[in-house]
Symmetry: C4
Subunit: 206 residues, 4 copies
């Protein structure tokens, strides 16, 4: 019903706006509204930089994986449209989760735990949505070339590992919000450097 | 005069920005600016989550229906350009209506009623604009394949039902703002699950 | 050097974000932060609605005219890229000018005059940039089909009338900011309803 | 793995949002929240206009150069995707650096120096990322037509000069933040008016 191009264009628009809104959280108080020096303020908000870095590359990785997956999709059915909207629902919430965790990280106590859990929960929702999209595409024959059982297993594992690790991060929130960011940063780094066979293929063949 | 592609690209850009701005309303107060715990704040702002969900999928449905309709359009005339801008005028106001209804829902009294009425009015404006777009396209022979009288009746009913239900929601605002959100959520759910013949056709034939 | 498509896509992105940011100015104060009822607040900020309407359709008209003009452009040279950026510089400032004029309209006195003059100045900058773009395109043979002298005169008049009327609006700011909005609304309405020969041609021939 | 088109579309989206968010910093305080007249406020925030101008055209130049470079790219590999994300990480931070330097410029003292250094550092990060992208593209044979050694030297110099000048600007921050903006404005002006052979070629041949 809908061509892949417009689904990708709309999703890219949402990714682009969400990734840019992340930086709104870097803002410092203007002069006179805070008794601290600018240097103190900038230094004191290091959690905002760390959270910005992690969330920026997380959205970046979602964008890369989103494209890699949809490049294999031959047709888009109505459930896929709405599963994709479900994914975007969580992507759009990432700037909110990011600013909350960076605001409350240094506060410590229950507030920091809750902020970390919120961050992990949004990421978990995003990861699960991505898995649902993959399961739907693979299970309803929407791909140009159907996957072999091995490819399917490898892809399920690949997309599933994120959803699993974010669940671990959710549990880790009750120990430390910093740990949540560290785990999220690790899983993003893993996705950045993991050269999948499917990715490498077309490049070397060219 | 204008090719369909650029109208769709611009509209998709507006949809993408509006849907992402919805999440700005999820923000909680930073530490120290509020005596409540983060958990209390997050729990206390449940209307913001409900309103976010309803508005997010409403814009999502508009996007899906917008594409389904314009995919049948052969040429874009000047009035269609401006009717489309009228639709976007209301889409762009959805984040404002969403944050207002979620801010005032728990306040109750006249303020909550007014906020609910505002939300329903913006949705009504959006629904009416969509109907005007359809009437213009069908009435001025802008479609690739003209609709049969039955198809036309079905589509008029389909697009018109939204405008009618939002009118009911407007009236319901004077009973309860929560009822407005419930009705808006129902109509969006209806559009998500209603598999139209036109949608299913091309998919099964492929 | 740059293909027209990417210039249009980038410009459309800027138009889409700017037009959506306009609605941020509709926000009302949350409950408790203002002693007035929501109804009073909504009624009291009517200048925000008027300014929103005028600015929304102004950006819409710029978008429509931008497309109509660039559809005739065969190639994009470097000066055209930067003249287009100059246009976008003013388009991006429209939400700022809009919120300023709607905030200060009811205050009256010098502040309202200054806000009106600011609004007219931003529109004037936009109008002049558009004229410069047209002059450059027509004068450097960048069009697919060069204009006849009559077409060129008509187009110069058409694009120039905006720049002239915004100058009048600037002067009118010293009488009343409301008058500025009224003039801006009139010129936008003129552009919406003025069916140019170039626009009508391809439509009727189809 | 990823086609160039989607990388460009996503990057253009980020450029468009970032360039539009710059204008949020032009906002003045509403009436009643400030004892100064609007004219005083507008006049007093001249650093915001200068910073807006410099940053707007800097992002504009990055966009132009980004396109000129990627127009020569035959295929996109995974490292290029992430180097491009690194560039966008700094582009997205430009509105933050811009509002900080314009807020603190007139304050003087250490705060102004720090704000200037922050602005220069973000620009340096952007410039270095751009250089890394070029080095990767040229060094891994990703271009449609490989550069001759002379072309490669000229391009390295061209992209490298920015990274070098922003380093000088960083040092200049310890003298004056105004000097930082002046240097950044100069380098952007240089990129606007420098007609590269590669740019001119296709134009004159057409």
């Amino acid at each position: 019903m809908m061509d892949r191009g417009r689904l990708e264009a709309f999703s890219d628009g949402v990714f682009a706006v969400a990734i840019t809104l992340l930086a709104l959280n870097l803002a410092v108080a203007g002069p006179g509204r805070d008794h601290h020096t600018l240097l103190y303020q900038l230094g004191h908000q290091w959690p905002a930089y760390v959270a910005y870095l992690v969330s920026f590359f997380t959205i970046g990785v979602i964008w890369v994986n989103h494209h890699a997956l949809f490049a294999q999709v031959a047709r888009v059915d109505r459930p896929l449209l709405f599963l994709n909207l479900l994914l975007l629902l969580f992507v759009v919430a990432i700037p909110f989760a990011t600013s909350t965790v960076s605001d409350y990280l240094l506060v410590g106590g229950q507030d920091a735990h809750v902020a970390g859990a919120l961050y992990a929960a949004v990421m978990e929702g995003m990861g699960l949505s991505f898995s649902l999209i993959f399961i739907h595409i693979a299970g309803h024959g929407l791909m140009t070339v159907p996957m072999t059982p091995e490819e399917s297993r490898a892809a399920t594992l690949r997309f599933g590992v994120g959803a699993l690790v974010y669940l671990v991060a959710f549990g880790a929130a009750f120990i430390s919000a910093t740990l949540v960011l560290a785990i999220a940063g690790l899983i993003t780094t893993y996705y950045i450097f993991r050269q999948t066979p499917g990715d490498a293929g077309p490049e070397t063949s060219e």
